[in-house]
Amino acid sequence: MIMQEMRLLLVDDEEDFRQTIARRLIKRGLLPEEASTGEECLSILEKKPMDVVVLDVKMPGMNGIEVLHHIKTKFPRTEVILLTGHATTQDGVEGIKSGAFDYLSKPIELEHLFRKIKQAHEKVCREEEKIRDAEFREKMEQQMIATERLASLGTLAAGIAHEINNPLAIINESVGWMNLLLKREEAADIPFRCDLKRALDKIEKSIVRARKITHQLLGFVGKDDFALTEVSLAELVDEALLLVSREAMNKEIEIVRDIDASLQTIWSDPYRLRQVLVNILTNAVHATGPEGRVRIIVEDMDQEVLLKVRDTGEGIPKENLDKIFEPFFTTKNPGQGTGLGLYVSRGIIERLGGRIDVKSELGNGTTFCVRLPKKNRTDEVQTQIGRDDLMDKINKYQ
């Protein structure tokens, strides 16, 4: 850290002494603030945190040791250097016991004081770094846990989906066969023929529903399925809009398309990306009331592309915001949504090396932000690198 950024406070009731020291410290590149009493020192600290306080012990009113106690309880990150008179070395020792960084006996040698201040400051920086690292590590670990959990959940879900497809296929063929039997002439007069037909229709519809779920789950896990090529995001947006336009028209929703004209093609998987776009746009249209507006914005950033879908719907309540990317979370009625759209979308975007975020405020609509790299390595390499990086970082701070 640069010395000039150090926040330093000199506290001494002897004005001449204090000002002399301050002047000489300024010459060495420090910018000390000054206080003439312990009370003043504490009130300054209330307003502005300090890295280092140089504190005279012998002062009228609140003495240095008392001030030190206050500083250590209220501002534990601030380091204190005590200045004691020759006769009162005992005060200095007591001060160290109460958490002072060090003590100097008056008369002091400025070079000595300067060195001590520097050391105290370094300690503050180290402590801050440690705290930042710990916070970073905790965040990373949480992210890892979440990622791993989702990954294992994905594997499990895909396994189940796969196993369910076989019995589902049997049910499907059985229903089809029963339907054909009911169409035979001999079956024209059997009792409850209509009821049977109706029940079979319900089974068929449910199979379609279940199939949608299993196929969506499996589509997410598909491994080497990603086909990276040059993609025009503008075209892709238009295609996706085409698919949702009818529903938007029925609800009289205005769709605004705001695409950076300078944007060239990006390197990505058009089919997966379209799937994501359709998912997000469909959600936006569903969330938006009649005569609302859905806005799709594509911005050309330096290394990446930022795609935003903003709706004027009622927004997502805070308690749901964390859940919307979880598999099977849906607020739609059964049969209308599988609760997989965003889960699958996130999986796709992450495997394309991008990120998807959501911002929402009740009553103020929702915005989905998708960031995509313009150039994309194959996804296997990408996830591998991401993980190794994470592991590296975590190990480093352990």
Partner: protein, 146 residues
């Protein structure tokens, strides 16, 4: 128009599935044979004329891809539609590269299946027709007519 039945061989280790699908296909007029393993499938093809094989990818023992490879080697004209409950379409893509006509994800839509069956049979007919013509030409050239 008189419907010419498609000679279908269904190969899947899920017996219930094979049974129901074959009943259904028979009901709409196709000629259906069934097998529960890749090995059995190849035995049947040795003895019986088949237009299209509906082949499950995931089977114990000889799996669908192996079976497909063997079919294409020994009976190149027979068309194969792959059926998969498997999520990764990569196996299906591999199958297509090995010469399968198409693939279907389980549970398959019957209309889809019928369209693909018709398509497969048509491709087989076309190919046979071409071979017949080529052979005819070859014979004619041999006898010095051209």
């Amino acid at each position: 128009m008189i419907k010419i039945p498609i000679r279908v061989l269904i190969v899947d280790d899920e017996k219930d599935f094979v049974e129901m699908l074959s009943l259904r296909l028979k009901e709409v007029g196709e000629k259906v044979t069934t097998a529960y393993s890749g090995k059995k499938c190849l035995e049947i093809l040795e003895k019986k004329d088949v237009d299209v094989v509906i082949l499950d990818i995931k089977m114990p023992g000889m799996d669908g891809i192996e079976t497909l490879r063997e079919i294409k080697k020994r009976f190149p004209l027979i068309e194969v539609i792959m059926l998969t409950g498997h999520g990764t379409t990569e196996t299906a893509v591999e199958g297509m590269k090995l010469g399968a006509f198409d693939y279907l994800l389980k549970p398959a839509d019957f209309k889809d299946l019928m369209t693909k069956l018709e398509g497969a049979r048509k491709r087989k007919d076309d190919q046979e027709e071409r071979i017949r013509r080529a052979e005819a030409k070859f014979l004619m050239r041999k006898s010095g007519d051209i």
